[in-house]
Amino acid sequence: MAGTTITPAASYGSTAQAASVKRERGHIIAGLAPVLLWQTLFFVIPMLILLVYSFWTMRDYRLDYTFTLDNYVAIFTNPIYFKAFLLSLQVALFVTVICAVLAVPVAYFIAKKAGRWRVMLLVMVIIPFWVSLVMRAFAWRLLLGERGFINRGLELTGVIEQPFSFLLYSPTAIVIGLVYAYLPLYVLPLYASFDKVHDNWIAAAQDLNATPMRAFWEVTFPLALPGLMVGAVFCFIFGLGEYIVPALLGGGKSLMISQAIRLEFELRQNWPGGAALSIVLMAIVMAILAVSLRWLRPETAR
């Protein structure tokens, strides 16, 4: 390599330029290749297979390989899917907003006030998730249920005489379950962002007569915004695909979009229909993502 590059020509910036572009491109390719190849092989290709399926139909439980757009037409003409999508959207927006509000103080505390125990606290945020979701949902049922800990406790202390039945299999339970499931998704990136905010900056703001609260809103919070955005994007996308929490704690009384997709694949065994529905969902999310990634852009400016 040295032999080819060391030539005493007067000007060969362009050769050097070419070599560096090549090196740079080599780096980019080498860096992106593993994950892109992996995702192409194990995600894009399966999705492409399903894309092909979405243009076929299922007749009498056998595939009919004639090209058709019927599956897509069916989706856009069926108000149930629209309703289910709206519900998923509501859930996603809800967890995105509520969890952000709830997570900010926790992440701030861990990053700025927890001293030596920060790592421990962070790990403690994750550990509950090492217990099967089923087990945690069953535990929530034992807490919220008719004869659960909360109702029992309130009865024994004489606060109520009849148990509350609205705690379980209700919107309340869905809210609790969703917050429970999504809080860590925020705490982790938010923690990272708060951690990057120097104590000096906060001190400087307070020095300029900002109250601690004011200093937080004027200095810390804006600087932690990228972490908040990362959390929000994750929460929103996960939230759109959510159905397990509403099913386990909400009593499965309403239909979310990913449940509709499951029904299509399972009960009907209609793979083409389910594939079309998944692809429409994916397209919508991609569009939302492309827009929200633009929000994340300022972070890339160095």
Binding site: H27, G31, P46, P105, W117, M120, S132, A139, L143, V179
Partner: protein, 273 residues
């Protein structure tokens, strides 16, 4: 999770407002409330957990430890989740470095592609993968589970690492390179140690996800049984408190381990300063 996490000697011990501390304690109580219930009923002498409790027993722990299927599935799960977490982090890291530090055309497209697996319902990914594995049916089982979970977790592993690396000081890399470190040495001498907390965090998340995932795993598992497959599989009956017992063990062991490592880290930082 940041480079700063390494420095523990921070002159800032819990001097925050009482309200903030109380609030955080409340949130942690919220996170651990169900866990407490799970542990409580691991000791209750009743086949179906529920109030009122019947009496104390350790039988469920005995049952859990003497159930070869349950124990085997636990170890299979740990092994597979660890593998996919390491693999996902390993393929995510170079991509995150490129996305964060270099000019990449179509960056948005790449990111959308990386995030897409999160939104697709898992049954769809499971079926898609099982169709793909028709080409290599021999992979069905543990390798396929690792592949599936790596696919599910590598996407957000990349995104999280990317957002962490954006804050990485470029001059560290340039200084190292300038002092004669090749790309590879820069990676091992500078990037890896400085990004270690973030990498660990990402690995932890990926492990958590892979450890609990059931649907995709079921499709590609063949006859391999992971803990979630066993647990979901027993949901036709009533979930045995033996599963409470094994969950309690998982929780307590991981809490103790993380507390010990935390204490160790603090000791280290004390002795070095």
């Amino acid at each position: 999770m940041s480079a700063g996490t390494v420095k523990l000697g921070r002159p800032n011990p819990a001097k925050g407002g009482v309200a903030l501390t109380a609030y955080t304690a409340l949130i942690f109580a919220f996170l651990y409330l169900p866990i407490a219930v799970i542990i409580l009923f691991a000791f209750d002498d009743k086949p179906v957990p529920g109030l009122p409790m019947a009496g104390l027993t350790l039988d469920w722990f005995g049952k859990a430890f003497s159930d070869p299927d349950l124990m085997a599935s636990l170890f299979v799960s740990i092994k597979l989740a660890l593998s996919s977490a390491v693999l996902a982090t390993a393929i995510a890291m170079p991509a995150a470095m490129v996305l964060a530090w270099r000019e990449v055309r179509l960056r948005t497209l790449v990111m959308c592609l990386l995030l897409a697996p999160i939104v697709v319902p898992q049954i769809v990914i499971g079926l898609g993968l099982v169709l793909l594995f028709r080409l290599v049916p021999d992979l069905i089982g543990s390798p396929a589970i690792i592949i599936a979970h790596t696919t599910l977790t590598a996407c957000y592993a990349t995104m999280i690492l990317y957002s962490r690396l954006l804050g990485f000081r470029r001059s560290y890399l340039e200084a190292a390179m300038d002092l004669g470190a090749s790309d590879l040495r820069v990676f091992f001498e500078i990037i890896l140690p400085l990004a270690a907390p973030a990498l660990l965090a990402v690995m932890l998340l990926a492990f958590t996800d892979a450890f609990g995932e059931y649907i995709v795993a079921w499709f590609v598992a063949g006859f391999t049984e992971t803990l979630p497959i066993v647990i979901w599989g027993s949901m036709r009956g009533v979930l045995s408190p033996a599963i409470n017992a094994i969950s309690s063990v998982i929780i307590v062991v991981s809490l103790v381990l993380s507390a010990l490592s935390q204490i160790w880290i603090i000791r280290q930082s004390r002795s070095s300063s």
